[in-house]
Each structure stands twice: as structure tokens, then as C-alpha cells.
């Protein structure tokens, strides 16, 4: 037993010494792995964070969202549906909502008109305001708005100021700012302009009695899916539940991260080739070394163990350091250059912090796709050398 321990200790020491001896190979593998894992981990951790934030939003969404379909396309829905839906057993409340996009300069902002009835529908205290107040039912039709930090920063406005927004129908609409969202809620409110339903309908020139969609809240005792199934026979109605929205958004953010995943896969193949070529390049040198070691009594397994330990140390060092750098790059520096260019996230407010989620699943995935290929590309050449006759190996290496 003591002999075995001493033997493995010696093999370990020998592997560590090899890391220093083959400096060029160690440096090449370290640098390439470091670059690859830093970039991919920054993107993956950010993507995971965005997915989680989207999950929170979906969990806060109405139990059911109703849209009006015509020819398979979404159109404004008539408010007469409200009484029809309210009569369905299990439906607690139906709220109207009008929302859309407004272009200011080269940017797009989201304008949301809230049903005054919904503002009375108690969900807790809204504490996400830096200044001013939230909307109340009394703000209906007054032109009072609450805006996100991004818009406030771009237009250089604050609570108490008036702003004029040009609508799609090229009409100037004057609004009065009564509240400003805080930095803490920027991930949700940065681009948002909240106003009353009446103001939003006017801004978007919605036809009389129509809104964008309906939000349905189901009684806590009821299953939303069962309630949704009772709406199947209502013409032109499209029913979206939370699960559906969640899966849709996960697919969307997954696809955004995907463009980088594709590039990363190519990069990984390149790295595996570099590691393999390095193993071959030092092959001549190590062929002689392996022959010598076998002459001294090393077995094939001992030689594989030496190379395995070398690869494990290199792989874990470079990958762990790369992931820590990637995390710091995303969490503390907001991943400059990466999210803007590769993932199409158009712009970020100055105060905005990227949500970064270092999930164990992503960490182990990155280890799996970096360390295992490295093991294969270094251990296989070592095994091929080790099974060659030692004398022949040394003669070949010397030739």
C-alpha cells in the first residue's frame, strides 16, 4: 500500500515537472483555453441571468393573456370580450391593456396604458420609484406618465417636466412626468413609459372600444389551464398561459445566446486541434522520453497517468480562471463589446447592470466541453507512444 502511494506521488511530481518542462505546450493550451472560456462563460452567465429575469416577469404576468386573431395575425381586441370572459367560471378579473412601441430618435420605447381598474387591484406596494409617484385611477386621461431611467437620461427630464411625443399618426402628444423608476428596476422599466389606458388609446389612435390585449386573472382555487379550455369556442380568440410565454421567451434568449454558441463550437474545435497538434509536436521529444521511461520500468498505464494529470491540471486551471474572468467581465464590467455586437441587445442604460447568473449547470457544461476534449487530445497520443516498443521509440525519436 505504502509502495503504491509513493509510486503515485512520484508520478504526480513527474507530471507537474512536465508542465514546466514543456513550457510552449503549456502556454499555448493555457492561453487558448483562457480566451475561449472567458468569452463563452460571459455570454452563458449573462444569458442565464436574462432568462431568470424573464422568468420573473412571466411569473408576474396575468394567468392568461387574450389576443384577437384575424387571418392568423394579432389585431386589437374589442373590449366587448371583457363581459364575455368575465362570465366564465373561475375568472376573477379581466383587465384591458393597450401597449406598443414609440420611436424616439433612433431608439424604441415601450408605451403601456394601464386599466384604472387594475391600479386598484391590490398586489402590494410599488417601491420601484426613485422620484415622484406611481399612477392612480385618478390619472385616467390626464396625460400623467411614469418613465424609466433610460428615457429620463436621454431626454434629460425629471419629475414635474412635460414631454411631447410624436405618435405614429404624426400627432404631437403632451405628457406630464409624475414618477421616475429607480435603477433597481431598470431591467424591467428602463425603456418604459407608463400611462393610463385612455391616454395610451389616444396616443396609438386605437379605434373606439378596442385595446391591444386582455389580461385575465383566475381565482386562486382554479387551474388557469382549465379556465383557458373553456375559452376554446370563443371566435378569433388566442389564449396564452404563463407556461407558454415562459417557453417562448426561453427559446428566444436561448437563440440569442446561440449565435455565440455556434462561434464558440468552432473555436472549441480549433482549440482541440491546437492541443492535439501540440501533443504531436512535442511527440518526437516525448517519444524518446516515453521509451526511456519504459526502459526504466514505467508501464503504459503509468505514462497515461502522467499525461492525464498534466491535462487535468492544465484544463482545470485554464477553464476555472477563464470562467472567473468571464464572470467578472460580465458582472463588474457589463461585458462591453460582447452583448452589443454579438447578441443584438441594442443598447443598455448607463446605470443598468447586466443580470449575471453563474449556474452550476453552466459551470459543469463548460468543464465538460473543455476538459474532456483536452484529455482525449493529449492522452491518445501519449497512449500511442506508450504502446510502441521502447527501443524502437527511442530510435525513431533520435532519427
Amino acid at each position: 500500500m505504502r509502495y503504491m502511494i509513493r509510486k503515485h506521488k512520484n508520478l504526480l511530481n513527474y507530471s507537474f515537472d512536465c508542465l514546466r518542462r514543456y513550457r510552449m505546450r503549456t502556454a499555448v493550451i493555457l492561453i487558448t483555453f483562457l480566451v475561449a472560456t472567458t468569452m463563452i462563460s460571459a455570454v452563458l452567465f449573462t444569458k442565464d441571468g436574462l432568462e431568470r429575469e424573464a422568468e420573473f416577469s412571466v411569473q408576474s404576468a396575468p394567468d392568461l393573456t387574450l389576443q384577437y386573431l384575424k387571418g392568423g395575425r394579432v389585431e386589437p381586441i374589442n373590449t366587448s370580450y371583457t363581459s364575455l370572459i368575465s362570465g366564465i367560471p373561475g375568472v376573477e378579473k379581466v383587465l384591458k391593456r393597450t401597449w406598443g412601441y414609440a420611436g424616439i430618435g433612433q431608439y424604441t420605447f415601450v408605451v403601456v396604458g394601464l386599466d384604472p381598474e387594475g391600479l386598484n387591484y391590490s398586489r402590494g406596494v410599488i417601491t420601484s420609484l426613485e422620484e415622484g409617484r406611481f399612477l392612480t385611477p385618478e390619472d385616467e386621461g390626464t396625460g400623467n406618465i411614469v418613465i424609466g431611467k433610460l428615457l429620463a437620461y436621454m431626454l434629460d427630464v425629471r419629475v414635474g417636466d412635460d414631454i411631447i411625443l410624436l405618435s405614429e399618426s404624426v400627432e404631437a402628444n403632451k405628457f406630464h412626468i409624475v414618477g421616475l423608476f429607480s435603477d433597481a428596476s431598470s431591467i424591467y422599466t428602463a425603456d418604459m413609459i407608463l400611462m393610463s389606458l385612455e391616454d395610451a388609446n389616444k396616443f396609438f389612435s386605437m379605434p373606439e372600444g378596442q385595446v391591444t390585449d386582455l389580461c385575465v386573472y383566475v381565482s386562486p382555487a382554479e387551474d388557469p389551464v382549465n379556465v383557458a379550455s373553456k375559452m376554446n369556442s370563443i371566435p378569433n380568440l388566442r389564449v396564452l398561459d404563463q407556461d407558454l410565454l415562459l417557453r417562448g421567451y426561453k427559446a428566444a434568449y436561448g437563440a440569442r445566446g446561440g449565435i455565440f454558441t455556434t462561434l464558440w463550437t468552432i473555436l472549441l474545435v480549433a482549440i482541440a486541434l491546437i492541443a492535439f497538434s501540440q501533443a504531436i509536436v512535442v511527440g518526437h521529444e516525448s517519444q524518446f522520453e516515453v521509451g526511456l521511461l519504459k526502459t526504466f520500468g514505467f508501464s503504459t498505464l503509468d505514462i497515461i497517468e502522467v499525461r492525464l494529470v498534466e491535462s487535468l491540471v492544465l484544463g482545470f486551471f485554464a477553464t476555472s480562471l477563464g470562467m472567473l474572468l468571464g464572470f467578472s467581465y460580465a458582472a463588474f464590467l457589463n461585458a462591453p463589446g460582447l452583448v452589443d455586437i454579438l447578441l443584438g441587445w441594442a443598447y443598455l442604460p448607463r446605470e443598468f447592470r447586466l443580470p449575471v447568473y453563474v449556474s452550476l449547470q453552466s459551470v459543469f457544461s463548460i468543464y465538460a466541453v473543455t476538459v474532456i476534449p483536452l484529455l482525449i487530445t493529449t492522452v491518445v497520443p501519449a497512449w500511442l507512444n506508450a504502446i510502441t516498443d521502447p527501443e524502437l521509440a527511442m530510435r525513431r525519436a533520435a532519427a
Partner: protein, 107 residues
């Protein structure tokens, strides 16, 4: 400490540090307090990222037409837009998404 041991020791330390960060991050996200009351009141099921990216705040539809945008007959772009990821890795791409097929919704 012997110089040859620096790299192996650092490998262990960095791996332990990374796993600690991951465990901390997992616990932070599981206990995360977010602006729930606000999100419930506004009720848009999305976040402010990507508002210049074909309107991700729209429930479902615009999410799927993002690749080729709103060209006629373009409501089944989930497949064409999946080329930028590895579809087999994503459950969402493997499974049929109910509600995406309008006929199925109408029953």
C-alpha cells in the same frame, strides 16, 4: 512551496473559488427579491433588454418572427431561427409549443 506545485495548487484554488461563486449565485437567485408588485401591475411578460430587437415585449408572436421579421406567411420561423443555436440541446426547440399552432389552440 516548490515552483512545480504552483500550477496544480492554483488549479484547485481557482476551481474551488469558481464553485463557491456558482453556489453563491444559485442561492442569491433563489432568494432574489424583485419588483414583483410593479411587474404584476404592468403585466408585460418580458424585460427591457432588446427593445430594438423586433419587440420582445410582445407575448409570443414577435418572439418567433424575429429572424425574418414579419414577411407574409412568416409565423413559423421557430425552425428557421433555431439555426443559430443547437436545437437538440433545447427542450423548447424539440417540443411543439402549444399555442404556436393556431389550429391546436382553437381545438
Amino acid at each position: 512551496m516548490r515552483r512545480v506545485l504552483i500550477l496544480p495548487v492554483l488549479a484547485i484554488v481557482l476551481t474551488a473559488a469558481l464553485l463557491s461563486v456558482a453556489v453563491y449565485s444559485e442561492s442569491q437567485w433563489s432568494m432574489r427579491e424583485y419588483d414583483k408588485a410593479l411587474r404584476e401591475t404592468v403585466a408585460l411578460p418580458s424585460i427591457a433588454i432588446g427593445t430594438n430587437y423586433e419587440g420582445t415585449r410582445n407575448p409570443l408572436i414577435e418572439v418567433f418572427v424575429r429572424s425574418l421579421y414579419d414577411v407574409p406567411g412568416g409565423y413559423d420561423y421557430i425552425v428557421s431561427s433555431s439555426f443559430i443555436d443547437t436545437p437538440i440541446w433545447l427542450r423548447d426547440f424539440r417540443e411543439t409549443i402549444p399555442g404556436f399552432n393556431f389550429t391546436a389552440v382553437k381545438g
